[in-house]
């Protein structure tokens, strides 16, 4: 048997050998493996979804339960509620008309709960503290309607007539002297609305009323009901922003490569060289973009927009080598390059870049409500659509780094964004806000076929210029 034939036959026979290990082996392996991981990507997406759904839910709840509409009623529209516009200011009710009922209407306030209506009336009371003629009228009526509100809540199932009548009787009972000469108006309950009437009073009549301590003056026939402040908050805001800071690429395989070097010790073995991943350092990053926001309440808003983002990281590399090198890119095929770097060392520094379009959705909450320097906290999720990239890929099997383009990266990437900001300057609807900003990539920026994990992180200072809105 010649030497070559002997070795070939042995190799062929041994290559086909298979032996079953005992079942205990897998059990022992299983005990040594880390506990089964939950999908981090899934967990982050779930958190983001809960945040967004929660914010939308809270906003919807607020809007549904705090619908305060004020509308002036023009003549012949007393009973109409279908034309209520929540944003419009109440119209002025002009001079007396031939229709007695209509001329007495100040405004119609519609609400779905007691609390906002009280707030609205409180607001009107505050605004009418100037003691001009119109305000006195309004204030007096509001006081009466406050009583009526009470009846509305407690006796809403007993019918409109009862409520109105009771209201009048109560007033007479409580203020017999003051009210006996007053032809009381009849506030009426219309479903969930309170219709406020201007009572048919003369100056002499109302001067005796002491329901409120007022210095009554001559009454003018025209009354304007001030708008409810909360309407202003249901407006959309526009902003432009610019973020400057640093970014870096966090690559999971770097730790494992180091561990591997320890595991395999001095054994130098083909593909398992166990080298150390190149050091990655921070580099300049920025983004510019525009946002639109929708206030959900005084202190909560949701927004979205589009930005241009440039992320970079500096990679420290060893010596540059000009020689053919075959790069296997998994499902992307393989290609030959003619220049690469030793992964370890500090002789060369390469700055990788990724330019992307970012579509963020975020929730903003005013954590510290104050006149000067209010503090807003923001959190959201954003989608990155890659435009271009230049990258350095580390190959742990050969301990070599080489340049690559964006073909090895995922075209769509996801990020979580966090920030805080305060208002530095404000005039009318213009304002400037600034604060720290942090974003972290979700999942893997590389295509999964490469089986290499990495994600972008960015920290910086964000400046925002607001137009309109709050």
């Amino acid at each position: 048997m010649d030497q070559h034939n002997f070795e070939t036959q042995i190799k062929n026979q041994l290559d086909g050998l298979a032996m079953s290990p005992s079942p205990m082996v897998w059990q022992r392996i299983e005990r040594q493996l880390p506990n089964q991981k939950r999908s981090r990507k899934g967990a982050w997406l779930a958190i983001a979804a809960v945040l967004i759904v929660g914010a939308l839910g809270a906003g919807s709840y607020y809007l549904l339960n705090n619908n305060v509409y004020v509308k002036g009623i023009t003549k012949n529209q007393e009973k109409s509620t279908s034309t209520i516009n929540p944003i419009s200011k109440p119209s002025i009710i002009n001079n007396r008309t031939t229709n007695k009922r209509n001329k007495n209407i100040i405004a119609k306030i519609t609400t779905q709960s007691n609390q906002p209506l009280k707030k609205a009336i409180d607001y009107i009371n505050t605004k009418l503290a100037n003691n001009n003629d119109n305000e006195i009228f309004a204030k007096k009526n509001i006081m009466r309607y406050n009583k009526n509100i009470h009846h509305t809540i407690t006796n809403k199932n007993k019918g409109n007539e009862y409520t109105a009548a009771n209201s009048a009787k109560d007033a007479l009972r409580k203020y017999p002297t003051e009210a006996k000469n007053i032809p009381l108006s009849e506030p009426r309950l219309e479903k969930s609305s309170i219709v406020m009437y201007r009572p048919e009073l003369t100056l002499a009549d109302i001067s005796n009323i002491k329901i409120m301590v007022l210095n009554l003056k001559k009454v003018e026939p025209t009354i304007t009901t001030p708008p409810i402040e909360s309407h202003k908050k249901q407006t959309m805001g526009w902003s432009m922003h610019m973020t400057n800071g640093v970014s870096w690429q966090a690559n999971k395989s770097s730790n494992i490569a180091s561990t591997s070097a320890v595991d395999y010790g001095t054994i130098i073995y083909g593909n398992m060289s166990g080298g150390k991943q190149p050091t990655q350092k921070t580099a300049y990053a920025y983004s510019v973009g525009a946002n639109v926001s929708f206030p959900l309440s005084d202190r909560l808003s949701v927004g979205g927009g589009v930005s241009y983002v440039s992320l970079s990281t500096r990679v420290q590399l060893g010596e540059a080598i000009n020689a053919p090198y075959v790069v296997n890119q998994g499902n992307q095929g393989s290609t030959t390059i003619y220049s690469y770097y030793q992964a370890e060392g500090t002789k060369n520094t390469y700055t990788t870049q990724q330019q992307s379009l970012q579509i963020p959705v975020s929730v903003e909450w005013e954590a510290l409500h104050q006149k000067h320097f209010p503090v807003w906290l923001t959190a959201g999720v954003s989608m990155l659509k890659q435009i271009s990239a230049s990258d350095i890929l580390y190959d742990p099997t050969t301990n070599v780094s080489h340049k690559t383009d964006n073909t090895t990266m995922n075209d769509i990437q996801w990020q979580l964004t966090f920030g805080a900001k305060t208002t530095l300057w404000q005039k009318n609807k213009l304002s400037v806000q600034a604060g720290p900003y942090y974003e972290v990539g979700l999942g893997n920026i590389y295509k999964e076929s490469l089986l290499q994990h990495g994600n972008w992180k960015m920290i910086g200072l964000k400046a925002q210029f607001n137009f309109g809105g709050k």
């Binding site: 050998l17 395999y264 054994i267 073995y269 296997n328 190959d395 490469l450």
Partner: protein, 183 residues
């Protein structure tokens, strides 16, 4: 292996079921590899266990270049060498001078042996000879590479291989004759 990429991705995510499937697929072949480098089934199982733990912990270093089976096999061989080194097996056995007479029979006795019988015969070699024989014949390393891996001279590797080869040829012939008689 069907949908190997998906299985690897699941393994990377730490999914236990995928890890079990990967293990079950490769364990029989890898067990045979470990068996060739050790002296008993129990030692082979120890190496197999340690090797697969390394496979799962370092799976993200596999970039899809070449077959996953070849990558796992390299880890098994490295793990076996580490095991032997830890237990000082080379040093105890590498100096053993057990050179039998060279067999002169030119017939091909290998053809009548089962792979398991052959592996058992190789296992009877002193550990140093056994390791060098496996690395040279089965894994295809040169004596220079084997010398670097085991921390010995290339010449030592070459001479020990030749001794191992002579011993094996003799034992294989004996085993063949025994098998023939029993039949």
């Amino acid at each position: 292996m069907p949908d190997q990429l998906q299985l690897l991705k699941d393994c990377l995510k730490g999914k236990r079921e995928a890890q079990r499937k990967l293990y079950e697929h490769f364990a029989p072949l890898m067990m045979a590899v470990c068996y060739r480098y050790t002296k008993s089934k129990y030692e082979a199982e120890d190496v197999l266990q340690e090797g697969f733990v390394k496979v799962f912990n370092n799976l993200d270093q596999f970039k899809g270049e070449g077959e996953i089976g070849a990558w796992i096999r390299r880890i098994m061989v490295n793990t076996a060498l580490n095991y032997l080194r830890t237990h000082q097996k080379y040093r105890q056995d590498a100096d053993v001078d057990m050179v039998p007479e060279r067999a002169s029979n030119d017939e091909n006795p290998l053809a009548s042996l089962q792979a398991k019988q052959l592996a058992d015969i190789i296992q009877r070699l002193p550990t140093g000879y056994q390791t060098i024989f496996n690395l040279y014949v089965v894994e295809g390393y040169s004596h220079v590479e084997i010398g670097e891996m085991l921390g010995i001279d290339a010449g030592t590797s070459r001479s020990q291989y030749l001794r191992a080869r002579v011993m094996l040829q003799k034992w294989i012939e004996e085993e063949t004759q025994l098998t023939t008689k029993n039949q």
